[in-house]
Structure formats: structure tokens, C-alpha cells
């Protein structure tokens, strides 16, 4: 996983880094209707026995959320096709030319990305005086590991019954969920139990997005996650708020 930190997945018709799956699905090279996303998520979670890399897990969850969203679009009744006058009016030869240019352009940027990677590799070995302590530091996880958090997440995911296909058209965004979580925490000075964030019968997409929102809030240090005793309930607190 050195080139990128995208975890490898194996699904019908595809095996490789999950972000590549997203790219292929988006390009129509993989038919998501054939792909069992629930098993993919479960297989990933089952694979998380050892160290959980928060960064990688976030990457996976993002990819999973993107796939779920794409798949739900495929499964929903088709909307009347949006008019695409620009493309419709193109001559076939123009289209081919346009495509060629696009591929060429993409190749150029891939090379640029390689050059940047080389610069990054050098600069990563150069250190300056760090800013005063506190701007960076431990994630605010008190008395528990990221594994515990993931285990709890998994329990909720297993509890959630509704299949992904029942995505409300409006969709939920991570930003909405973050706001909702902060609002609930603000109203709960003694913190919230982790499980309370999830309705028992939430659609999986809602569970995933809620969890992403939670990770995001932990990363931004907007909330603290604490477990007072081993295997005890996980509680969430608004950061800085007193109990």
C-alpha cells in the first residue's frame, strides 16, 4: 500500500485499490449493479483485526460512501435524461479528437503528479522548527484506541437492517451529520453514548455517513471520545465543554 493508502478490495469483476474501483465505476468500466457492496464493507471490517490506520480507514469509508451513492443512482428509476446540448451537437470526429486530447491532458498531469511526489519525498526529510506545541498533537481519544471505535461502529453497522438501495433521494451529507452531532452534543452536557447516534433501523448509507462525520469531528478536535473502563460504553463529549 505504498503507492497511495487506498485499501485493496476484491469484488465481482474487480480486485485492486478501492479508489481505483471508484474511478472505474465512475468511468462505467465496472458495473456496480453486479457488486455486493455490503460484503465489500464487511470484508474490510473483518480484515481490521490488527492496527487500524485512521487515515486509511477514512479513505475506505469515503470510497464506500461514493460507491453506495453511485450504486443507488443506478438502482433508482432513471430520471429523464438531462439535455446535453454541447455534446449532442458535436460531430463524431470532434468527439474522438476531444477524447484524445483529454487522455493526453490527463497523461501530462499524471507526470506532473510524479514530479511532485519526487519533490515531496525530499522535502519530507527536511524539518523546520515546529510551531508552538498544541496546534498538532494527539487525537483527542481518551482511554481507548481507534480499534474500539471501529468495533463499536461495526456493531452499529451490523444492527442496521435496511439495505443500501433505499437511499432517500435527498441524501445525507457528512456536513449535515457533523452539524447534527454537534447540536446533539451541545444539548447533552454529560455526553452521549456512541450507540445513541445511530437509529436502530438507519439505512447503511446513513450509518456510514454518520460515522464519517464522527471521524471528521474527532480529527478536527471538535469532540472527545472516551471510554472510562475497558469494554465499557464509549461516550462522546463536545470538545472543551465541561461535563
Amino acid at each position: 500500500m505504498s503507492a497511495g493508502r487506498s485499501p485493496v478490495v476484491r469484488v465481482a469483476g474487480f480486485e485492486g485499490p478501492v479508489d481505483e474501483l471508484v474511478r472505474r465505476a465512475h468511468a462505467g468500466e465496472v458495473d456496480l449493479r453486479e457488486v455486493d457492496l455490503t460484503s465489500m464493507v464487511r470484508a474490510y471490517l473483518d480484515g481490521l483485526r490488527g492496527e487500524v490506520d485512521l487515515e486509511e480507514a477514512t479513505e475506505f469509508l469515503w470510497a464506500a460512501a461514493a460507491l453506495v451513492e453511485m450504486k443507488s443512482r443506478l438502482l433508482l428509476p432513471p430520471k429523464p435524461p438531462a439535455p446535453e446540448p454541447a455534446v449532442a451537437q458535436e460531430e463524431a470526429t470532434d468527439l474522438a479528437e476531444q477524447l484524445r486530447q483529454q487522455v493526453e491532458e490527463y497523461r501530462v498531469f499524471r507526470e506532473a503528479a510524479e514530479a511532485l511526489a519526487a519533490l515531496e519525498a525530499v522535502q519530507r526529510r527536511v524539518f523546520t522548527r515546529p510551531p508552538e506545541e498544541g496546534s498538532e498533537g494527539e487525537l483527542p481519544l481518551v482511554g481507548l484506541t481507534v480499534q474500539d471505535l471501529f468495533a463499536a461502529f461495526r456493531r452499529v453497522l451490523e444492527r442496521s437492517e435496511k439495505p443500501v438501495e433505499e437511499v432517500p433521494r435527498e441524501g445525507v451529507t457528512v456536513a449535515d451529520c457533523m452539524r447534527a452531532i454537534l447540536a446533539r452534543l451541545a444539548a447533552s452536557p454529560h455526553g452521549l453514548q456512541f450507540d445513541e447516534l445511530f437509529e436502530p433501523a438507519s439505512p447503511r448509507i446513513v450509518v456510514i455517513v454518520t460515522f464519517l462525520a464522527l471521524l471528521e469531528l474527532v480529527r478536527r478536535r471538535r469532540l472527545r471520545v472516551a471510554q472510562m473502563e475497558p469494554f465499557g460504553p464509549i461516550r462522546l463529549y463536545a470538545a472543551g465543554g465541561e461535563a
Binding site: A3, E120, R124, T128
Partner: protein, 187 residues
């Protein structure tokens, strides 16, 4: 005070300025703090750079300024003491960043048109690491957000400024930055 004493004092002061500020300091600010001309400050920087040869620290011109930093050859010692630098960017994220860097200001739709893939996740990552930022909104329907690179971006890659970006296919970066693309607002 002899001329050499004066230069020596100023070199010492320069060293202090660079240590105290931590990040890159633009030449005019150094000159102002030293109460010297910018030319003289540049000469002092060159002298100091020479003095630092064979030492652990070095001067680096980056992000429009000068900074005091460690030489890459001692990185192994340093990572034994302090946390390693943030993770290198994934390939897909680097690709997204390259499009933003060479095409800025650019919308998400434009980035996605080049990459042929959804890029919101990568843009978010880049925003989070302060490598890119919102620089405005594009006039037109929906007025989409325009992205550009930040000073953190320059520092992350050890670049002086945007013209220091590796040339793309022999095209000079300045030309690319100025060329408006014909495919704007494609979605």
C-alpha cells in the same frame, strides 16, 4: 566597529531571525528587521549559507522566503525523536493537486473533467491539509468554488513560488497558469 564586525553581528542576528520565526521569512521582512537594504541582506544570507556548510542546519529559499531547516541527510536521527512528517499524499490526491496547481484557479468540475474521476474526496483532503484553498467563485451558473494552492503547498514541496513548479511537457508554468481553458464549466 569594523565592517567585518558589523557583518558578523548582522549574520548572527539573521540566524536569530530565522530561528525565531520558524517558517519562511520574506526577504523584505528580514531586511527591515536588520535595518539593511535587501541587497545587503541577500549578501548576508549567502555568507550565512556558506558558514552553514558542513553543519546540520541549512538555509532554504521556500514559499517566497528563507527558512532555517535541517539537512535531509540527518532525517533518520530526527524521525527517531519527532513524529515523521505527515503521510505522503496518495497518488490520486497528488494527481488532483497537480491539476489544481497547474490550472489554478480551477473548479471541482474542471478538475474532474481532466481526471475523469470524482475528485471531491481528494479536494477535501487537500483542503484539510491546507495544501489548497478556496480562492473565489467562478461567475456563471451555480457560481462554483474556485480552488488554488496555498503557502503550505509551496512549503510541502520545497518550492520558492509557483514558477518553481516542475515544467509540464516543456511548457512554462507561467504560460499554463495564464491560459484560460476552453472547456470551463463543463460538468
Amino acid at each position: 566597529m569594523t565592517e567585518e564586525d558589523r557583518a558578523r553581528t548582522l549574520r548572527c542576528a539573521l540566524e536569530c531571525l530565522l530561528l525565531a520565526s520558524g517558517g519562511p521569512v520574506p526577504l523584505p521582512k528580514l531586511a527591515q528587521a536588520l535595518q539593511c537594504s535587501e541587497e545587503e541582506t541577500e549578501a548576508l544570507l549567502a555568507q550565512l549559507e556558506k558558514e552553514y556548510e558542513g553543519r546540520g542546519l541549512m538555509l532554504q529559499p521556500v514559499a517566497g522566503g528563507w527558512q532555517l531547516c535541517t539537512r535531509p541527510e540527518y532525517a533518520d536521527y530526527v524521525t527517531r525523536l519527532v513524529a515523521a512528517q505527515p503521510e505522503p499524499l496518495s497518488r490520486a490526491t497528488l494527481e488532483t493537486l497537480a491539476v489544481v496547481a497547474y490550472r489554478q484557479p480551477v473548479t471541482r468540475a474542471e478538475v474532474e473533467a481532466v481526471r475523469g474521476a470524482r475528485s471531491d474526496h481528494h479536494l477535501r483532503k487537500l483542503l484539510e491539509r491546507n495544501l489548497i484553498r478556496e480562492v473565489g467563485r467562478k461567475p456563471g451558473p451555480g457560481s462554483p468554488i474556485l480552488y488554488g494552492t496555498t503557502e503550505v503547498f509551496l512549503r510541502h514541496f520545497g518550492l520558492r513560488d509557483l514558477s518553481d513548479l516542475p515544467p509540464l511537457e516543456g511548457r512554462r508554468v507561467q504560460d499554463m497558469l495564464r491560459t484560460p481553458t476552453g472547456k470551463e464549466d463543463e460538468r
